[in-house]
């Protein structure tokens, strides 16, 4: 039996620029352009094309769990779409031994008018499950999603949390030999995300071959042993995951100093629109490097299209290895909660002051979250921005040694004679 589950050789995918965002042409456009072509002779206009993926080659053994990381637009999703046969490559070759199940988006094919029960069958069939398989797993799926009471209610009456739970539950109970997963953990509230991560971890340790795309570095670190880093459609590194994550986090390709969200990232029905996240020094300048002995601020700018009640906007801080350092919300302090829990329509900045003599030197990652506790998560991005801390002048730097731990606070020491 062949031990190779996936073998990819020089895979590439070319898109026509403009064809992607607008989607379709009108018949008139096609007629006009073909008339033009007749007039000027048929010239293939190469410059209108863009390679979303190029020269990608790798192989994957059975039972291996491979992570794929890279910035937005690096080609991660294109790669998964090619491997799950959603779209055809422009060049190259791939061989897949085994049944592929793809989890490119949870809830694909859910129909709002159908009940939870009906959608489980429909969605299962769409994802490639046999009817008997779905029947066998039905109870497990319902329990996992915690929607038993509403199983015969149309899903359009579900809360967004219930909807996502059900959608993920169906997908998570797929049993193909090769599982292709794209960013499915970025949904739902924190507790459900933990549950999903646990389920994915089970899957990964069952000896299934898994290709796993995520922006969530802690998930990548936890689930995969080896990871590919994609940059501009090419593989730049394949290494043990902690090395790949380190490379990705610290290389220039990760965003540092300031980041703007472009376009509508949260979707139409979500009132929360992130605008920018920046690291600002004491003088108010946007910087990507701060001194540990000085304070600095993390600013998160966003817009609310509608009033939100109970809103809290906060930050996650991670080390470059993805270990959490802290989590803090702008309404943690009860007085501020009174003032800001209800925010009307408008543009806001939530600014968090990080005190001097607090962080150790190194690279840090800032994540953002906007949510109403246990009600709804409006927006989460675990890895939005990186910045560097220079430990020069920090407590103890007279000793040239590496100090352990992500923080290096100036602590109050007392030295006295011991009283006997």
């Amino acid at each position: 039996m062949n031990d190779i589950a996936i073998q990819v050789e020089g895979l590439g995918k070319q898109y026509r620029i403009g064809a992607m965002p607008t989607g379709y042409r009108t018949l008139r456009d096609a007629l006009v352009s073909s008339l033009k072509r007749l007039g000027s002779g048929y010239i293939r206009r190469e410059h209108e094309m863009i390679w979303a993926l190029r020269d990608v080659s790798f192989d994957l053994h059975r039972g291996q769990v491979l992570g794929i990381i890279g910035r937005n637009g690096a080609g991660k999703s294109t790669l998964l779409k090619l491997l799950s046969r959603v779209t055809e490559p422009t060049e190259g070759y791939a061989e897949i031994n085994g049944r592929v199940g793809s989890l490119l988006e949870v809830g694909t094919g859910f129909h709002p008018e159908l009940t939870g029960r009906e959608n489980i069958y429909l969605n299962g069939a769409i994802l490639g499950m046999k009817r008997v398989e779905i029947e066998a797993k039905f109870d497990e799926i319902v329990d996992f999603a915690e929607v038993r009471r509403f199983i015969d209610t149309p899903v359009k009456r579900y809360s967004s949390g219930m909807y996502l739970r059900l959608a993920f539950a169906v997908a998570a109970h797929l049993e193909p030999e090769i599982l292709v997963v794209d960013e499915v953990l970025a949904v739902g509230d924190a507790e459900f995300q933990r549950k999903c991560l646990g389920k994915m971890s089970d899957v990964a340790h069952e000896g299934r071959t898994v290709l796993f795309v995520s922006h969530n570095m802690s998930a990548i670190l936890r689930l995969t042993e080896e990871t590919i880093v994609l940059e501009n459609g090419r593989i730049v590194l394949r290494a043990p995951t902690h090395k790949a994550v380190d490379y990705y986090m610290t290389s220039e390709m990760s965003r540092s100093g300031e980041y703007f969200w472009e376009g509508d990232v949260t979707g139409q029905e979500n009132p929360f629109k992130p605008i920018a996240l920046r690291v600002v020094d004491l003088q108010g300048r946007v910087v990507d490097r701060v001194a540990s002995k000085e304070g600095f601020s993390l600013e998160f700018e966003y817009e609310l299209n509608d009033a939100i009640n109970g809103l809290r906007v906060g930050l996650y801080l991670y080390t470059s290895q993805g270990e959490p350092v802290l989590t803090s919300f702008d309404t943690d302090e009860p007085g501020r909660y009174e003032l800001f829990a209800e925010r009307g329509k408008g543009r806001y900045v939530s600014r968090c002051r990080i005190p001097a003599d607090f962080l150790n030197g190194g690279t840090f990652i800032v994540g953002v979250n906007a949510s109403s506790f246990q009600i709804r998560s409006f927006f989460t991005e675990e890895h939005a921005l990186t910045f560097n801390v220079d430990s020069t002048g920090a407590p103890g730097t007279q000793w040239a040694e590496i100090r352990r731990g992500p923080v290096r606070p100036a602590l109050d020491w007392e030295v006295g004679e011991a009283v006997r």
């Binding site: 898109y15 779409k81 190259g92 070759y93 061989e95 129909h111």
Partner: protein, 289 residues
């Protein structure tokens, strides 16, 4: 626990035969019927979804499947038989029109639904792999349920107007099949074109309307002069279907076999060309839709 693990291991052994090659494809290709067969459950679920969803949140629900052709029949009877005094070959006008409308509505709904099916199902196409042809196929097939419901009224009307079934009634499935295949052929063309050119959404209603008048739904084929006109008319497969269906219900003069063969030929041509065009454009669906 152990039992579960064991069975899945056996399954894995069987499944591991599956080997997929992914590479750019070129030129024309035919439908992979074996693959389509493997996805039969998905097709079934897509049909089932279309049927379930069709009349959700309507007051009358599935009654619409009957009301649509029935109300058209009432209007046709009043206008064409009543005011315009068109001949119905001696048959009671309501039965005459209803018998024409049944296969027509099946065709019209099939074409319209199939034509929009890929665009409506774009979230499926861009997220999961399955033979794309399953989508328009399911859209056309879902019409059979409506047809079956509406046919019950046909039986009721035959009883009411005392129309005795002739042996010709056994040919109904034949005409039904021809209507479905024609709808699928046209639907494949329209759905594939619709992915790139949304003009199709605007063109389809006119196409369907023109096609209605080019078929003997509101009038009898006997209105068409014999000779060349008849032959040209026979190029419209729905002419053969509607005329044949009506004959199967009402009896009377048997439609010309030559004309029917011509209809079958055109239908097959539509289906084959539809499949080829669909397969050719299919590989870019996910990128363009």
């Amino acid at each position: 626990m152990y039992k579960v693990a064991q069975t899945s291991a056996i399954e894995n052994k069987n499944k591991s035969e599956l080997k997929t090659i992914i590479k750019p494809s070129h030129g024309w290709s035919w439908v992979d019927l074996r693959e389509l067969w493997r996805y039969r459950e998905l097709i079934y679920f897509l049909v089932w979804r279309d049927v379930k969803v069709r009349y959700k949140q309507t007051l009358l629900g599935a009654a619409w499947a009957i009301l649509k052709p029935f109300l058209s029949m009432v209007i046709f009877t009043v206008i064409f038989a009543g005011l315009a005094q068109l001949k119905t070959d001696g048959a009671p006008p309501p039965v005459f029109y209803y018998a024409g409308l049944l296969p027509w509505v099946l065709f019209q709904d099939g074409v319209t639904k199939a034509g929009n099916s890929l665009v409506t199902g774009s979230n499926l196409i861009t997220k999961v792999y399955f033979p794309r042809i399953a989508i328009p196929l399911a859209a056309v097939a879902a019409g059979i349920v409506d047809f079956a419901l509406a046919f019950l009224i046909m039986i009721g009307m035959m009883v009411y107007y005392g129309v005795a079934p002739t042996p010709a009634i056994w040919t109904i499935p034949l005409f039904l099949l021809l209507a479905l295949i024609t709808a699928l052929g046209v639907g494949l063309w329209l759905s594939a074109l619709n992915v790139s050119y949304r003009d199709v959404g605007y063109v389809t209603p006119f196409l369907v309307q023109a096609w209605l008048y080019a078929s003997p739904v509101v009038y009898s084929t006997s209105l068409i002069p014999e000779g060349w006109a008849r032959i040209v008319y026979g190029l419209n497969p729905m002419a053969g279907v509607v005329q044949g269906f009506r004959w199967a219900i009402l009896g009377g003069v048997m439609p010309s076999v030559g004309l029917f063969a011509c209809s079958v030929g055109v239908t097959l041509l539509l289906l084959l060309s539809g499949i080829l065009y669909f397969r050719r454009t299919e590989r870019t669906f996910a990128d363009v839709v």
